[in-house]
Structure formats: C-alpha cells, structure tokens
Amino acid sequence: MLSWILQGGLLVLVVLGCVAYGVQVRKGLGVTGLSREMPWGLYISQFTFLVGIGASAVTVLLPYYVHRQKTFARALVLGEVVAVIALCQALLCIMVDLGKPARLLNILLYPAPSSLMFWDCLTLGGYLTLSVVAVSLKKFARGGSPARWVRGLALATIPWAIGIHVVTALLYAGLAARPAWMTAVLAPRFLATAFASGPALLILLAAVLARRKVFDIGREAIERLSTIMTYAAMASLLLALLEAFTALYSGIPAAGEHLEYLFLGLEGHVGLVAFTYGGWLLLLLALVVLLVPSLRRRRGLAYAATAAVLLSVLVEKGLCLVTSGFVPSPLGYVRDYRPSLIELGIVVGIYAGGALVFLGACRWLFTPSMSSIHALNPSPSTAREPGMARVAQMET
C-alpha cells in the first residue's frame, strides 16, 4: 500500500515536471532564474552532481573486481543500478538546459573535438552503455559466475567511470574567463566529492531496502562504504582548503572573488552565503560523527551523518560551485541567482523519475526468481546475522 502511494506521488511529481518543461519549451529559458550574467544554474549544477553519483560506482567496482572483496557483491548491483539511473538523470539535466533541445544531435552531426562538451557526451554515452550491458548481463546470466569477458567489461568501466567525472571537471577547468574554476584541483575535488556522495546515497538506499526487506547488501559492505565515504569527504575538504589557500594567499583579486561572494557576499549580494555555510557546516559535523568511534557506533547518528555528507555535496556541487563561477561577471557585475519554480519543478521531476525507475529496477532485479543474483552475489550478511536470513530470501 505504502509503495503504491509512494509511486503515485512520484508519478505526480514527474507529470508536474513535464508540465513545467512544457512551459519552458513554449516560453523559452527566460522562465528560469538565469541571466546574461549567470548563463548556467541549477540544471548544469545538478548535472555535475549527478555525473558524480554515476562515477561513484567506482567505489563498489574497484573493491569487488580489482581487490576481490566479496563483501561488495550485493552492493555492486545496487551501485551499478544507481549509477545508470543517475547518469540518465544527468543527461536529462543537460537536455532541459538546452535552448534548442531538438538540435541536440548537432553535437554528433558536427563533431567538435576541441570542445570538452563533445568529449563529455562521448564518455557519458560510452559509460552508460557499458553499465547497462554489465547490469543486464548479470540479470540474464544463468547462475554461476559470469563469463570472463563480463569481468573484463566490468574492469573496463572503472577507468571509464573516473573518466566521465574528470572530463566533466575539465569542462569548467579550462576557461580563462572563469578564474573560480581555473584550478587543476577541480577534477580531483570532483572525484573526492563524488566518492563521498555516491557511497552516502548507496548507504541510505541500502538501509531503506534492508528495512523494507527488499534487498540487503550486508552490514560489512555498509561499514566499508562508510569508510570510503569518510576518507573521500576528508579528501574533498582538504582539496577545498588547498584551493582556498592558493586563491586567497596569492592576493590576486580575480582568484578569490568567488570565495568572497560565497562566504561574505559581494557588493551586497548574499544569494549563496547561507547555502555555503550550511553546506560546510553539514560536512564538518558529519566528519566529527564519522571519525569519533563512540558517535559513529550509534547507528541513527551515523545515518544522519551520512545524509549530511550527501546533502553538503548536493549544496556545494549541485548549486554553489557552478553558479559562484559566474560571479562577478566579466564586466564586473554581480547578479544573484534564484532558481524559478519552473526550474525547481523540472529538477524535482527528474529526481522523481529517477526514483520511480529505481523502484522498478528493484522489482526487476531483486525478485526471488532472480537466481543469478543469488548465485553471483551470495548474501554476506546471512551467515553472521541470523535475523537477516529472511531478507536474503528477498521478499517482494
């Protein structure tokens, strides 16, 4: 019953998102909060965040396929599904951002290798194809271990996953016009935030799925994902501080103006100040919980910290990073950006659609008839936690 209400609600949000997009197509992108000073906003920010979630499949692929960590067997399936859905959402974010979406294929008709956007489309498309093939093969594998070449395919997706996020960072990092993004640290920072937010999302989804007795990736996998998330979050914090040092200690005005805008506001414009402090505060509090054993052991608190990591990356990467790069404008103008309701409706619709597909994928993948997943991914939790044996039967 609850599941139907949830799906109905999500469907309503998808429909509302479609209606909002219809308005945008009819009236033009003027219905958004964007401007000539702020040509990219929520859509491109969310695209960046979602590519990070997609790339974070590495955090399960790498331990499982390279380091043979069998505890990741079930997390792997979940990770791949989430990655595929996140990438589809990322591509939708790009599509709704285009002024002329009907001309999207011009990117392939008139390939421009000097544009990073061309490479972004190639890498994203390639990675998405590989991942869909990898997930489907597992679904249709008839028990036993997958063929060796399936493993090869999975190994190939690892550098590709890192590649998609590096290319996304290079999209920004080579623009002389935007000193805020002109840093070699941007790509590593993207990877660090991706490897923090991705596992965070997996942990939260895994917790819900286990509670609903749909699918259990196992306690050990969750603990390890949590460790990866904590280290990645610390790395991202360090990289952000290093970036701030270079920008501020050098004293070059253009290098630090975006930080001034983010933390203090510029010329009275304080549009992102609350988000900036909120995001960093969440990350710092989360790190305290995740690093202090006595706090970390309280499961509820640990989940809250996990959610805080995810939320802080969503705010920092999914809003502040891209928009602050446009402040001040090349002619020195500062214009705050506030997403319009249309924009928010479209983005919420994209997320609701992703959630719906995820629910469908759970039904498709985690059903009792799915002998292959059982065989491929023996539940690591059943042996140690008798109470979880029931879950391993994967009730629907």
């Binding site: 009236k27 033009g28 992108l29 003027g30 964007l34 401007s35 000539r36 000073e37 040509p39 990219w40 790009i94 951002d97 285009l98 002024g99 002329k100 979406p101 001309r103 999207l104 011009n106 990117i107 008709l109 008139y110 421009a112 000097s114 544009s115 990073l116 956007m117 061309f118 489309c121 999209l171 623009l175 002389a176 016009a177 935007r178 790069g325 446009f326 404008s329 090349p330 002619l331 020195g332 103008y333 214009r335």
Partner: protein, 252 residues
C-alpha cells in the same frame, strides 16, 4: 531564406567569398577593396577612447547596428541582447584602474563589442561548430546550428555573447536572418557587409554621423590606416593577459 544574406553566405562566407565579391566589382563601391590588399585580410578595429566619449550620450552606431541586425529590444535587464554597447572604463579595463583615478575617468563610457579574438575561447568550446573563426579573423555565428548550450557565454571573457532568453519576436523586415528563442547571438563584425566590400555599419555611421572614433581595416596590411594608427598611438586591448589576442584595439 529570402533575405539579402542567405545562410549559405554566413556559413561559407570566407576570404574566398570576399575575393569573389571584389572581382565582381564590389570593390569599387567602398574603400574596403583597397584596404584588403593582396591575400586574405585580417580585419581589426580601433576605438579612439577620447573621441568616442566626446559626444555625450551618443549611440548612433549602437542604434544603427541593432536596427540592421534586428537585435531584439528586451525589457528585462537580465535578458538583454546587445551586439555593441557602452560600459564605464573601469569595467572595460579594471586592471588599469587605481585608487587615485578621477571618478569621471572611471565612468567614461567606452564602446564594447565582440573582440573577434585570434585565440577565441568561444569557438574552442562550441560543441557544434555553430560559432567559428573565419580566415579573415571574424568570429562568426550560425544561429541556426546553435543548440543553445551557452558554453560560449561561459567561455567568453568579455561578456560579449547574448542568449535569447525570450522570443526575440522580430518582424519580417530587414535583411538579417531572424532568430528564435534559445540561441546565442553576438556582433558579427557585419560579415554580410564585409563580404559585399563594405566596412561594418558602426564604423560607417560613426564616420558619417558621429565623432569618427572607429577605425576599421586590414591588420595584415602595414599601410592600412588602422595599422598606421596602431603604430603611432598607445593602444590597449581588453584582458590581454588571457592570451585571447583581441582584434579590437582601444586608442588611449
């Protein structure tokens, strides 16, 4: 397209097209033919800062350009579309400003437009080749291939590019092709006039009805008035440290 300037002209309009126009006798119409000289020209422009500011509130070149290219008038400032306009000196050359500068000097209005850079970041990032640099140095724009991703706007260090946030709603009059909402547009250095052997409209208007602050010519030709002006006077280029090599010079 039934307009005087077809889309093919826009796409294929290169030095070759100019050469053909010259052979056809277009050279006789203006002085541009002589300025082109031998080989492919490299068009450039110089703005005499003091002269441009000498006529307070002058916007003859702006109005002429926007009328000729059917640049839409947009009420909302954040959605504005402009090919050529004026900005205070302090915004155009922020690195030239110091604490003791006179306020009037800082506020001196300066003409700004696309710099038609030699190393144009906008053409580098365009994913569809909808904007490209012609062999004569003009950074051209095909609004009919543009997908509206606005990457070029993120890459331009001069804020010279405009997006049609709203339906431009331009009428059927005029020669320049109409645009729709969702595409980027900017100054094209009047390629349609260059290919017909004429100087850009802003230059012509400024010469005939304004303070004659604009000098246009072939940067490859050492004898052109533009080159002589650049040799004789101290000139600035916007944000030269970025290595974009603008073709628009400011004579100070």
């Amino acid at each position: 397209m039934k307009s005087g300037l077809s889309r093919r002209d826009l796409l294929a309009g290169t030095g070759a097209a100019l050469g053909a126009a010259l052979v056809a006798g277009a050279a006789a119409r203006t002085a541009l033919g002589a300025a082109a000289g031998a080989g492919s020209p490299l068009w450039g422009m110089a703005v005499d800062v003091a002269r441009c500011a000498s006529v307070a509130g002058c916007r003859r070149c702006i109005d002429a350009c926007h009328a000729a290219h059917r640049v839409p008038t947009v009420a909302e400032a954040r959605h504005e579309v402009k090919w050529v306009w004026k900005e205070p000196f302090a915004r155009v050359f922020p690195e030239q400003i110091h604490t003791y500068e006179a306020e009037a000097q800082k506020q001196m209005p300066l003409l700004v437009l696309c710099n038609h850079c030699k190393n144009s970041p906008c053409t580098r990032v365009c994913p569809t080749g909808a904007t490209w640099r012609r062999s004569d140095g003009v950074v051209a724009m095909d609004e009919h291939r543009c997908i509206g991703c606005r990457y070029c706007m993120a890459a331009c260090p001069y804020g010279a590019r405009n997006f049609n946030w709203e339906d431009p709603g331009v009428g059927a009059t005029g020669n320049y092709p109409a645009r729709t909402a969702g595409v980027v547009e900017k100054c094209n250095l009047c390629v349609e006039r260059l290919d017909a052997g004429q100087v850009p409209l802003c230059v012509e208007i400024c010469r005939s009805a304004g303070p004659a602050a604009l000098t246009f010519g072939n940067l490859e030709d050492a004898t052109s008035p533009l080159r002589q002006l650049l040799a004789a006077r101290r000139v600035l280029r916007r944000r030269s440290a970025l290595g974009t090599e603008p073709s628009v010079f400011y004579v100070v």
